[in-house]
């Protein structure tokens, strides 16, 4: 079976007639105005509860309010080693991976204004699966981390990808039954994003 | 005053056989638009049935014959987006590997036009003198829409016909299911596509279905006749040339 590689490469090379030139760089239409506002507006369209907060001090109350709004217990999962330094009075914090009916609070390193997208490079304190395990994800984002487009995220990562980079634009959904959209297919049924302005 | 442009009319095989009036309507409209019209006797079919079937050798021969018959004219005008598209878009493909003929094919393609777009875009015609006191829906053939870029022109001209009202189809993009030999090879699929188009037409206020391609119209009329559905079908050129009083397609 080791012959496959050379045979395939040979098949490609022997048949090729011409080679197309390196494409011109593409420049997408730019997002105008405030990036965080544009981000919030676009993500809100996708059934996401986006809240603008003045400071990190407002996060605990917002988390509690999101949980109440979903009729969920005041209990969240936060990854061990998470960079989120949150004091959540009255909220039980668990460190093990969330189950399919749990809520998780996650830290968002970057967000993309063009499409209203959260960008999660996996790493220490940022386990990738946590964006898919819970039924509710509450994501905490600093407004200054909203970049115009995906290309900017790639630049900020310095050309080195983490093992997994997850781009998330809304709660999990499916249209597989009668082409009708239903939320919560495998990943979270609800997504709340707390955008902290300073 | 400049000399009248010499226009070669490519009649199309279906107009020649089934609906000669479309040819005479085209001649009348072109003369009204100040053209000198000639109809080369050396024309038959554009060769599209052979090309679409992959019978390339036949297509090459027929395309050469058409190019030779028409390359001397200032313009070539075709009362069909489909046959026009064959000459304009596909003749250069037919001769992709034959440089001498490719140049001739491209030259012919550059001066080939669908009838109604020629009248409006090249001759600047903004209206016609004709009467037709009926409501019509317009079927755009796929080749008119996507190969020849014709959509506004038939509507502009039909809109100038005295008494005529247009009530548009809901779906103006989807094929009617003719497709030349497709209609013979896959009759049941073609039937479903025709029925969808006919249902759309019957849901309008129109009593007449019109369009610029006789192939689609023959197929749709043939299907309606089989089902006993009474929608009058006519090529748009007949209405524009004030020949709408003649029996419609498939009417005794």
């Amino acid at each position: 079976m080791s012959g496959g590689r050379e045979a395939i490469l040979q098949s490609i090379r022997s048949r090729r007639l011409v080679q197309s030139p390196k494409p011109q760089p593409y420049s997408a239409p730019k997002t105008e105005g405030d990036l965080a506002e544009a981000f919030a507006q676009r993500l809100s369209f996708w059934q996401t509860d986006v809240r603008m907060l003045d400071s990190m001090a407002d996060v605990p109350a917002a988390v509690a309010d999101v949980l109440r709004g979903k009729n969920m217990a005041q209990r969240v999962h936060i990854a061990p080693d998470s960079a989120l330094a949150l004091d959540l009075p009255g909220i039980e914090v668990l460190r093990e991976p969330p189950g399919q009916n749990d809520a998780a609070v996650t830290e968002v390193p970057f967000a993309i204004a063009e499409t209203g997208t959260l960008a999660y490079p996996a790493g220490k304190g940022r386990p990738a699966s946590w964006h898919f395990r819970p039924v509710l994800e509450i994501a905490v984002l600093r407004a200054s981390d909203v970049v115009p487009e995906l290309e900017d995220v790639l630049k900020r990562l310095g050309g080195v990808l983490p093992s997994t980079l997850n781009l998330v634009s809304g709660p999990s959904r499916t249209g597989d039954i009668e082409q009708t959209m239903e939320l919560g297919a495998h990943g979270p049924k609800s997504l709340a994003v707390l955008v902290v302005k300073s | 005053m400049t000399a009248k442009p010499r226009v070669g009319l490519f009649v199309t095989c279906l107009v020649d056989l089934v609906r000669p009036q479309v040819g005479f309507a085209a001649v009348k409209l072109l003369e009204q638009a100040g053209c000198q019209v000639e109809v080369p006797a050396a024309q038959t079919c554009c060769g599209q049935p052979a090309w679409n079937a992959g019978a390339d050798a036949h297509a090459v021969d027929i395309a050469r014959q058409t190019i030779a018959a028409f390359e001397g004219f200032d313009h070539v005008v075709v009362p069909s987006g489909s046959c026009g598209g064959m000459i304009k878009r596909h003749y250069p493909e037919v001769f992709e590997k034959d440089e001498a003929w490719l140049a001739r094919a491209r030259a012919l393609a550059a001066k080939t036009h669908e009838l109604m777009s020629f009248l409006v875009k090249v001759r600047g015609m903004s209206g016609v003198t004709a009467q037709f006191a009926k409501t019509v829906c317009v079927h755009d053939s796929c080749s008119s829409l996507r190969e020849m870029g014709v959509k506004a022109e038939p509507r502009a001209l039909l809109g100038s016909v005295s008494g005529l009202t247009i009530d548009e189809l809901k779906d103006q993009q989807t094929c009617c299911g003719f497709g030349g030999l497709f209609s013979v090879k896959y009759p049941e699929i073609s039937e479903r596509m025709a029925d969808d188009k006919i249902a759309d037409a019957l849901s309008t206020k129109a009593t007449v279905l019109t369009g610029g391609d006789l192939g689609c119209l023959l197929h749709l009329k043939g299907r309606m006749a089989r089902q006993g559905k009474a929608l009058e079908v006519r090529h748009a050129a007949e209405i524009l040339a004030d020949m709408g009083g003649e029996p419609a397609l498939g009417e005794p």
Binding site: K124 | G54, G250
Partner: protein, 489 residues
């Protein structure tokens, strides 16, 4: 269920008579068709985006060897392994070998058309490994032992009642009196059932929408998140994909990501885009500990340098399928192949052989809608026509068609004979006509099977034109030769 593309005509007839298929196809048109149109209208210059996508894919298709070897180096540098499979059998064997080496018994699967193409699931089952599809649509059709009927909406042809029946029959450990009337109840049941599979699977297999050569990453787009749980929860992640999916780098992927969901479902971006580069890092608490990529050729490389090469640009968005009036009439199963609609018609004859997939190339009116909506501007009708020419030149076309074309072409190359023939035909059809149309003839039976033929108006145009010219000429002769505009030169 049609599993043979040669059986297309019969399967198409059956599909046309399927009463449940029509409403499903109608929904497809309104959802995907209207969705794409709205998304394109909202984007700035979508045409420029299509051109950029085409250029990126053209570069990739014509540099596959460089990009694939670069991709391999990048994957290896991140601790992964790349495998190369010449054909379906080799791919199946490779995947089985990887799974056996890891002692895997159960496998969750993200959506992958390539694993459909290589018929991986029945092969794994026959070898004692249980594959579980996790994309909801794929899961439903797997339970029903059906192939997907659409490349991105595998179960669109089913009603929610049919899905409920399937779940009642399959999830026998659940309360038989539970309600599965609502669509969301079905979705939640699948979520719960499949979560157990994710948590217990030994390995996860996904496809890839793109491979990025520079970074050694596989990229998938999903709305459900199933692909991510497939990758992230088991110990091992295997990506199975076609060799043509590679592009130069993530910046190219970023451009294509603007095209793919808009063209597919009308979304500006899918809910999840997952860039998967190798196994978990040393400081990460989850993710796979082993990462394999199986690159499948299976007839793709032999399209390079042919008239069908452009089909390799395809990003499998399904826009051509969603806008195809033929697919819109018969759905996906009638094709009897993994890839249906226009992309199938352009790809299958090249990969499966013209003798097997000729119907796919022939069952098109060349309406051109597919090429118009293709995000990477593949000239689909042109490629279908190429396969028809191959079929014709190999003498594989039906005799009735080639013989009829031959007679017609003989006359069409001889204008005098053609005019005579047309005149005879016009006379004959008028003789045969009743009340304006001809109802049947011993030829063109396909035409007369479903429709009449309108009777010609009279003599042919050419005959009438000649007569008018002669009359005019005689009149001119009598009147002393005044030149008239219609005078022949």
């Amino acid at each position: 269920m049609n599993l043979d593309p040669r059986n297309f005509q019969q399967a198409a007839r059956e599909a046309l008579n399927d009463p449940l298929l029509r409403p499903a196809l109608g929904r497809m048109k309104t959802h995907f068709g209207a969705g794409r149109a709205a998304a394109v209208a909202r984007y700035g210059d979508f045409e420029a985006l299509r051109e950029a996508g085409k250029a990126i894919r053209d570069y990739a298709v014509t540099h596959l060897d460089e990009l694939l070897t670069q991709f391999e180096r990048s994957v290896v540098a991140r601790g992964g392994t790349v495998h190369w499979a010449r054909d379906a059998a080799e791919a199946r064997d490779l995947i089985l070998g990887i799974l056996r080496d890891a002692g895997a018994k159960t496998v969750t699967k993200g959506k992958s058309m390539v694993t459909e193409e290589i018929a991986l699931n029945p092969f794994l089952e026959a070898n004692g490994i249980v594959p579980v599809e996790t994309d909801l649509g794929e899961y439903i059709v797997q339970l029903r032992h059906e192939p997907p009927s659409h490349i991105i909406a595998p179960a669109f042809h089913l009603s929610k009642e049919q899905v409920a029946e399937t779940f009642f029959a399959s999830h026998t450990d659940l309360d038989p009196k539970r309600s599965l009337v609502e669509r969301n109840a079905l979705v939640q049941e699948a979520r719960a059932v499949l979560r157990r599979s994710f948590e217990s699977a030994d390995a996860g297999i996904t496809g890839a929408n793109f491979l990025s050569a520079k970074e050694g990453a596989a990229v998938i787009v999903t709305n459900e998140g199933n692909g991510d749980l497939t990758r992230l929860l088991p110990k091992m992640h295997i990506v199975v994909t076609g060799i043509e999916k590679v592009v130069a780098d993530m910046n190219d992927v970023a451009v294509l990501l603007r095209l793919l969901p808009r063209s597919a479902t009308g979304q500006p971006i899918s809910t999840y885009v997952s860039v998967m580069a190798g196994r978990r890092g040393a400081d990460e608490s989850d993710g796979p500990q082993a990462f394999h990529v199986v690159l499948v050729d299976n007839g793709r490389s032999k399209l390079i340098g042919t008239e069908a090469q452009d089909v390799l640009r395809c990003i499998r968005c399904s826009a051509c399928i969603n806008h195809c009036p033929i697919y819109g009439a018969i759905g996906g199963h009638a094709y009897g192949a993994t890839y249906m609609g226009p992309i199938g018609a352009a790809l299958n004859p090249g990969v499966m052989g013209v003798e097997n997939a000729a119907h796919h190339a022939n069952a098109s009116t060349f309406c051109g809608r597919c090429a118009e909506v293709c995000p990477v501007k593949i000239p689909l009708p042109r490629i279908m026509r190429h396969w028809r020419a191959v079929e014709h030149s190999k003498g594989l076309a039906p005799r009735s068609i080639t013989a009829g074309l031959g007679v017609w072409a003989f006359a069409a190359k001889r204008p005098g004979l053609y005019r005579l023939g047309a005149s005879v035909m016009a006379w004959f059809l008028r003789m045969m006509g009743r009340r304006g149309t001809v109802h049947a003839l011993p030829v063109m039976q396909g035409w007369f099977a479903v429709r009449d033929f309108p009777v010609p108006q009279g003599r042919t145009f050419q005959a009438q034109w000649k007569a008018r010219r002669q009359n005019a000429a005689e009149r001119i002769g009598l009147e002393g030769g005044n030149s008239r505009s219609r005078q022949q030169r």
